[in-house]
Symmetry: C2
Subunit: 318 residues, 2 copies
């Protein structure tokens, strides 16, 4: 089986507060574990869209790790290069949401199995056949070991003629902005497409306006910048064009993973070699469907669901 898309990075389970406005430091109820990690949500969504894909990452030899690997396998992700370590525990993210829309996290990540991505896992035979390698800024931020694995994967894929997609997915609370820019630069200048949110674009480019930021990001080298605007849809920038694509109206249950699912739709659209407007519309539909269910991976739609939405629903916003 030839893999078309591979992603690499943190695998973790998410343990979330059952209700809003419950601080993490006070006893209360949680629900979980849910398979998570931005690149894992991405690859699961790619698989559900019917594309052959695989993942490189690490879990602990425990029930949380088994949950993640079984989930990815069930959805069709190749897990040959997911390793399981007996002396590390699977990464965990505790998350709580507040009614003002803010979130708060506690992570066991950089010192957990999630951050132990070994050189041996970045296999040149495995990676040199893929058409797209998708990376996330969050994976670059975990630790030095994980960052090096990302850079090495980029080198192999580029050398073999494959392409890179990059979601900056910045966590300025984990690392300073300057450091984030520095570690993102090698990926930005190697990738085919960047998929930031407005805040991420501004932070990376150091501008006050999201559109200016996207123009500036193009100067790093990517063909395309896909600006994710949430319920307002997406704007696609190339050297020649700006394409504004409206979103699909949905009832939001849980926003987690929406951006990662948008990325999946976008990369799948690029693989199909559709015109950019069609790619973006498809990606908007994948992202919209993702927010309709609780849990980071639960909303990832099937190809059929996305096609039905693209075919039948009116667009909103613009």
């Amino acid at each position: 089986m030839r893999l078309q898309v591979v992603s690499l990075g943190e695998l973790l389970v998410e343990i979330m507060r059952e209700k809003v406005d419950q601080p993490l430091g006070v006893a209360g109820t949680f629900v979980g574990p849910f398979a998570s990690g931005a690149p894992a949500i991405f690859i699961d969504a790619v698989a559900r869209l019917g594309v052959n894909c695989g993942f490189i990452g690490t879990v602990g030899e425990d029930d949380f790790g088994r949950l993640i690997v079984e989930r990815l396998e069930r959805d069709g992700v190749d897990t040959t290069y997911i390793r399981s370590l007996s002396d590390y525990t699977t990464g965990v993210a505790f998350v709580t949401y507040f009614s003002d829309g803010s979130r708060k996290f506690i992570y066991h990540l950089s010192k957990a199995a999630s951050g132990k991505i070994d050189k041996d896992q970045v296999d040149s035979d495995y990676l040199s056949k893929v058409k797209y390698l998708h990376l996330m800024g969050s994976s670059l931020s975990i630790n030095e070991e994980c960052r090096k694995a990302c850079y090495e994967a980029v080198r192999i894929v580029k050398e073999a003629g494959g392409k890179i997609s990059f979601d900056p997915n910045l966590r300025p609370e984990l690392l300073g902005i300057e450091k984030i820019r520095e570690i993102s630069e090698p990926i930005l200048s190697s990738c085919e497409v960047v998929l930031p949110s407005g805040e991420e674009a501004k932070m990376l480019a150091g501008t006050k306006d999201a559109e200016d930021a996207c123009q500036k990001l193009l100067e790093y080298g990517p063909e395309t910048v896909a600006l994710k605007r949430g319920e307002k849809g997406s704007w696609i920038f190339t050297a020649k064009d700006k394409i504004e694509v409206a979103s699909f109206p949905v009832k939001e249950i849980d926003p987690t993973g929406a951006g990662d699912c948008f990325d999946a739709g976008f990369v799948v659209g690029l693989l199909r070699e559709w015109p950019l407007e069609k790619v973006a519309r498809f990606a908007n539909a994948v992202g919209a469907l993702a927010v309709t269910k609780k849990g980071p991976m639960e909303g990832a739609p099937t190809l059929e669901e996305v096609e039905r939405m693209v075919r039948t629903r009116r667009w909103s916003g613009g």
Copy 2:
């Protein structure tokens, strides 16, 4: 303030399944975080019994860590030597109970803040004034760093004329039995009192009978072996005597922490220089009261509650 008792070891929060028979690897509800860690439960119980005490351990700079430190401070534990690290996350234990009485855990412990106990924290001025240093087998098992801190603390306290109490609190699932015996030996041969369960005594001594095991443990050097028999009370062994002390009948809500609270009662009784039978009766009452509330530290009783139980309740078992 002169501290009478100090303990050293893992600080962590416990996240527990809300209902029985919920495996950890399937989405469901949890409750937590609850301040925990066997030596932390012990020291909290000592403080609630009105004895000046302190703790040496490490948390992460996060809401879980703050919860633990605030809880210990509120109950009167001196937290001068609890440090908070910004680049490590507070340890976490996920636990689920099954209806057959078994438990299953997933830990973020040895690579989390819990395991980062530095030489600087084992302060000779602080420790050389204490009457009892209480150690747990679980702390010896975390990692090399933590183990060395335990040994160094024993050396300081012994040299200054203080005494050591030791709860083997073995986790054979974390380390093999041979290794546990090896790392426990230096503490066994230095301590005044050992407080094992029947299973722990048999495992440490390598015998099939708990009473034989306790006799064998005396040969290592301790004056007293206090065998915890749960709802059947406790048996106290010295070179001369075996004292059988009945338990107090209570309605069990959550057994977590009962053994640690028994230890606290026993050490407090020894500090008071009571006869061993009175010490054991007091410790039985502390342990019994501990199981009447949900959460690892929630049941730790006050001195008044224990005295009321000892005074008014009939004993059960024998």
